[in-house]
Amino acid sequence: MQDPDRICIKILTAAVLFMLLYSLPVPAQSIGLSVSGTIADMQLTPGTTNQDSSISLTVTTDAGNWSVTASDPLVGKPTGTGGYMTEYNDTDARYIAAPAFKVLSDPFGMNTSPDPDPGITGYNGTPGAGTLLVYSGSKSPGTVTLPIIFSQAVTLTDPRLTNGNKYRIDILFTGTVLE
């Protein structure tokens, strides 16, 4: 019959060894994102689906599996306008409040095709009020620049704003390291 204190000391020693072994710095996989700018005056021609590819997305990651999603953060926007370009006053830096605001008829979209790399898949769609998967990666690219094509259809009767305001949407890209 062993002394209970000796048993405890053995367990404590094992625990300390366990901690030393596994608490060594384990580099967490990370992902970094950046976009190359903003679009202050996207061409919006009535009767067509307008596209703008002037902005790209740079992803830096050491993760083997990762994704990038896009969403409309809805900050300061009137209810029901998620995913839609909505009237915005640049001087006051605010969206026009209900009920006076105007909003384009069609939702804002994003295209990514063709896939820029065999290990990276792009997706097309409209984030709406939710979250749109834009890219997923199944390998670590290091740093890669990915095309983003913003898309906005404009109807013939979408009102042109004549008070100095513009239609605007904010897009939040989120990079996630997947397990």
């Binding site: 209970p4 204190d5 405890c8 367990i11 404590l12 625990a15 300390v16 366990f18 901690m19 596994y22 608490s23 580099p27 967490a28 996989q29 990370s30 992902i31 970094g32 994102l33 950046s34 976009v35 700018g37 903003t38 679009i39 202050a40 005056d41 996207m42 061409q43 919006l44 021609t45 009535p46 009767g47 307008n50 703008d52 902005i55 953060p73 370009m85 915005y88 384009l104 008829s105 906005q152 013939l156 009767t157 979408d158 009102p159 042109r160 704003l161 004549t162 305001n165 513009k166 239609y167 605007r168 949407i169 904010d170 897009i171 939040l172 890209f173 989120t174 990079g175 996630t176 390291v177």
Partner: protein, 185 residues
């Protein structure tokens, strides 16, 4: 005493487990996109010709069947002008064949054609009061609308007893051209 040691061990193990699970935080970056549609105005008519019963006993002759549809995303104005080829009497119906070819025999109705544009408050359109078409006239003004705007009107032609009756195969005729322009309002 032993329970305390076990508690310490359990605590240390918990801390160790937390340390081996690296925290993977999401990374976010925003972008903003702004724009304003270009001006767009378009006009269409529901018919390309209309008939006026020219009877001096029932003067003036009138027709209300012409529908003008304006598709606009900004303020606009619509003008109408006599663009009859070889017009010698602007704004007046003149002698022509039934196919619209002007006759060398000049004849014209005494009074000019008249146009009245009806307002449409639902769609923010203002029509003109009656005016003759001896020059280009602005007949409607309006603002942007998210639906095509149907504009109605009355075209009126006074007929005098002294207006000549034309030989068979000829008609009094006029070609009107409607033009829409963006005003930005």
């Amino acid at each position: 005493m032993m329970n305390l040691k076990l508690l310490v061990i359990a605590g240390l193990l918990a801390i160790a487990c937390m340390m081996i699970a690296p925290v993977m935080a999401d990374e976010t970056t925003p972008v903003s996109i702004q724009g304003n549609p270009a001006s767009y105005v378009a006009i269409s008519l529901n018919q390309t010709s209309l008939y006026l019963p020219l009877d001096p006993q029932a003067s003036p002759a009138s027709n209300t069947s012409l529908g003008i549809t304006a598709t606009v995303n900004t303020g606009y104005q619509i003008t109408v002008a006599d663009t009859t080829s070889g017009t010698y009497n602007t704004g007046h119906l003149v002698n022509a064949t039934t196919s619209g070819t002007l006759s060398p025999v000049h004849a014209a109705l005494t009074s000019p054609l008249q146009f009245t544009g009806n307002s449409n408050s639902t769609y923010g359109a203002t029509g003109s009061s009656i005016q003759d078409l001896t020059a280009s006239r602005t007949v409607y003004t309006g603002s942007a609308n998210t639906n095509p705007v149907l504009l109605t009107n009355t075209i009126t032609q006074p007929v005098a007893y002294t207006d000549l009756e034309l030989p068979t195969g000829y008609n009094y005729w006029i070609q009107l051209t409607y033009t829409i322009a963006a005003t930005g309002g």
